[in-house]
């Protein structure tokens, strides 16, 4: 259907938005990446005009006008082809503004049941007219539970990815960080290493080392080496112990091409991992990372704002029933999210949209040293996400990733947010922590977790 355009009068000035993607972009709260792309509103008045016009738009319009043409983009085709009209029925007659009100008033079961009926653009649109408090309380209503060797996402839990990266993938360096994290209650989401290189032999060595640690300590969790999906496929062919297949993904065909992936490659990788039958309580074998700005970075954004494209990446993710999905919100840098304020809002938007679309959404609460942000900003975002029911966050020794050169949340941060908000680890993992005697002594390592058992002597 042809774009019809939208108009809105604000204080005697008429604002015209020629199509849906322009309306969405102009309605987006300010961030540097949209300004860089040339799609941001040029004034606060233009932004609120777009938000008012968007609020008046029927939700059903999203099924008639695509932000990127169906013929041109396999992600658009996926979104349209998978849309479930029955799940959409409860909100089909609402406007975007009415949808916000509905979400704020609805009970958790009703919000959760919507997911297959929502397109990413619908979730992104309503988020643009929400405040931070709205993003938090509606996300907190969504229930998403996934399983592999433990159960992630149960109400009242908050899981941690243990991220024991090392600049040269040194096995003992990685093992020391793994043990440190376990002793601080991290690792129930996954023990996941970002490898320093994509060398398949090196990746296989880390996979084998992580699997050995898991087996020696009998930990009810899963491991992952976050190499490119094609490297992981090669490792599986060669018999490596792969629990989860990782891949960075984006919200357009073009950005995925720039990452060297497509829907068909992801499907093939998932089938390979399923065939290994390594899960004990479930078969969710995929792990995805995303982040606002990747499409612009790859020059594959089609004039669509970065938050809407980010939400479209979640349509890619949900096609493959992932165990874990997280936005790496502050990693990409100040040209996309300039400061702590922009990172805070983006992290909560991403979590909200992911949850609305039915994903086990985590957030890498993080920043780089060239962004105008610091630990205070991360504490604020982490606390907000904890209240919003974030599925998991990262755990990095001392918040300092010595391989990727950025700051994420520390193991201590994970413990703190769990303690502050009364959250617990995944049940299987929590029982293991108790069994191992973890958390009783701040200086000594329990004998059952002796470093010598994993080659640290």
């Amino acid at each position: 259907m042809a774009a019809m355009g939208f108009t809105q009068d604000i204080a005697g000035t008429r604002y015209v938005f020629p199509d849906l993607r322009t309306l969405l972009a102009r309605a987006t709260p300010l961030r540097s990446g949209d300004a860089l792309a040339g799609v941001a509103a040029e004034s606060a008045a233009e932004r609120i005009a777009a938000q008012r016009a968007l609020a008046d738009m029927p939700l059903g319009h999203f099924l008639n006008e695509a932000v990127i043409p169906y013929e041109a983009d396999e992600v658009t085709r996926l979104i349209i082809d998978r849309h479930d009209a029955a799940s959409f029925a409860p909100v089909r007659s609402l406007t975007v503004g009415g949808f916000r009100d509905w979400l704020l008033a609805a009970d958790p079961a009703a919000v959760t049941a919507l997911a297959p009926g929502l397109t990413p653009e619908m979730a992104a649109a309503v988020s643009k007219i929400m405040r931070v408090a709205d993003l938090i309380q509606v996300a907190a209503k969504c229930r998403v539970v996934t399983r592999f060797r433990n159960t992630i996402g149960l109400p009242g839990t908050l899981s941690i990815r243990l991220q024991p990266n090392h600049p040269t993938d040194d096995p003992r360096g990685i093992a020391a960080s793994v043990l440190d994290g376990l002793l601080l209650g991290a690792g129930d989401a996954v023990i996941g290493v970002n490898p320093a290189t994509d060398n398949v032999e090196a990746v296989m060595r880390v996979l084998e080392m992580l699997d050995t640690v898991r087996e020696r300590f009998d930990i009810p969790t899963q491991s992952c080496v976050l190499s490119h999906v094609t490297t992981t496929m090669l490792a599986m062919e060669r018999g490596a112990p792969v629990d989860l297949v990782f891949q960075s993904i984006g919200g357009t065909e073009g950005v995925n091409t720039s990452f060297g992936v497509s829907l068909s490659v992801l499907k093939e990788a998932r089938e390979m991992a399923l065939a290994l039958k390594r899960g004990t309580v479930g078969e969710d074998v995929m792990y995805f990372e995303t982040g606002q700005g990747s499409a612009l970075s790859a020059d594959a954004h089609h004039g669509v704002d970065q938050q809407t494209i980010e939400a479209r990446a979640y349509a890619v993710a949900r096609e493959f029933s992932p165990l874990l999905v997280n936005t790496v919100v502050g990693f990409i840098g100040p040209e996309y999210l300039f400061d702590g304020k922009q990172i805070l809002r983006a992290g909560l938007e991403d979590h909200f949209c992911g949850k609305m679309l039915g994903l086990p959404m985590g957030v890498d609460v993080c920043y780089t040293n060239h962004a105008e942000a610091d630990q205070d900003d991360m504490d604020t975002l982490l606390t907000c996400l904890g209240v919003a029911g974030v599925t998991y966050v990262m755990g990095v020794p001392g918040a300092d990733d010595v391989m990727l050169a950025y700051q994420s949340t520390s193991f201590h941060d994970g413990l703190t947010v769990r303690a502050m908000l009364g959250k617990r680890a995944a049940p299987e993992f929590e029982a293991w922590l108790d069994r191992m005697g973890i958390g009783l002594d701040a200086e000594r390592i329990p004998a059952r977790l002796s470093p010598a058992l994993i080659g640290l002597a």
């Binding site: 540097s32 860089l36 024991p164 990266n165 090392h166 600049p167 040269t168 003992r172 360096g173 990685i174 020391a176 960080s177 043990l179 440190d180 601080l184 320093a196 290189t197 994509d198 060398n199 398949v200 032999e201 090196a202 490119h228 094609t230 091409t257 990452f259 060297g260 970075s297 840098g333 100040p334 040209e335 780089t368 040293n369 060239h370 610091d374 630990q375 020794p397 001392g398 918040a399 300092d400 990733d401 010595v402 990727l404 050169a405 950025y406 201590h412 413990l415 703190t416 769990r418 303690a419 701040a442 200086e443 000594r444 390592i445 329990p446 004998a447 002796s450 470093p451 010598a452 640290l456």
Partner: protein, 242 residues
């Protein structure tokens, strides 16, 4: 049952911030302030600038022509906000032709300190190890990785090896990244490059970085491409004698 080990002993195995102890669930004061100090130093590193004359002098013994260029970025703040300008050469830039050669770019990126310290040492090991003809060394200010595409296109290079300062971390404020792009030209995507990161003493050594770059260039020549099509399958321990 063995004697219980001390948690802080884990620090022997990694530079990561392990074994910090805890105050309640939080980090103790000393660990907290150590972190804040590191962040302060990293912030200053981001805003450091490349000493072009010193870098030129450091690579002079290699005997290759040296060219200085700037990107289209006017200053450091614009560099942070406008990566698109950091990927383009300043208007009026003239580069020598070096058809079929490997062209080297030494670029400040997000941390000039790292490039200054490590790029000459990597080049000293890499240049003699290559079978391909070698072109000029281009010293580039306010540069992003993709600036190498335009440099490669202008020089007619077979490949560009870009040595660029990586985003400073807390423990490492001087890491160098090496990006290898076969048949460089404007519009190449990151999936069409191979990258070696964390080059510094304490990370990937100069010898390893040079050997891996040389291996990737040989493999790229055979394949006619870099990027995801070129898997890094260099066997471990296959380092040639320096």
């Amino acid at each position: 049952m063995s004697t219980p080990s001390l948690w802080r002993d884990l620090r022997r195995f990694t530079d990561a911030r392990v074994g910090l102890g805890r105050a309640g669930t939080a980090q103790p004061t000393l660990a907290h302030l150590d972190f804040q100090e590191s962040h302060a130093r990293a912030r200053d590193a981001v805003w450091s600038s490349l000493d072009v004359a010193a870098t030129e002098a450091a690579v002079a013994p290699l005997g290759l022509p040296v060219v200085r260029v700037r990107s289209a970025v006017p200053d450091r703040r614009a560099y942070l906000l406008r990566p698109d300008l950091g990927r383009r050469l300043a208007e009026g830039t003239v580069l020598p032709r070096a058809p079929g050669s490997v062209v080297f770019v030494v670029a400040d990126g997000l941390c000039a300190i790292g490039v200054q310290r490590h790029a000459p040492a990597v080049l000293e090991r890499l240049v003699p190890a290559l079978d391909l003809p070698t072109g000029p060394i281009v010293i580039a200010e306010q540069a992003r990785v993709a600036l190498g595409d335009e440099i490669g296109e202008a020089t007619g290079a077979a490949a560009v090896v870009m040595l660029i300062g990586e985003r400073p971390g807390l423990s490492a404020t001087d890491s160098l990244g090496v990006y290898i792009t076969w048949a460089p030209r404007r519009g190449r995507t990151d999936a069409e490059r191979n990258c070696i990161s964390n080059v510094r003493p304490g990370g990937l050594s100069y010898d390893e970085a040079a050997a891996k770059t040389a291996w990737l260039l040989r493999a790229a020549q055979g394949l006619g491409a870099t990027g995801v099509a070129l898997k890094d399958e260099m066997p471990a321990g296959a380092l040639p004698a320096p």
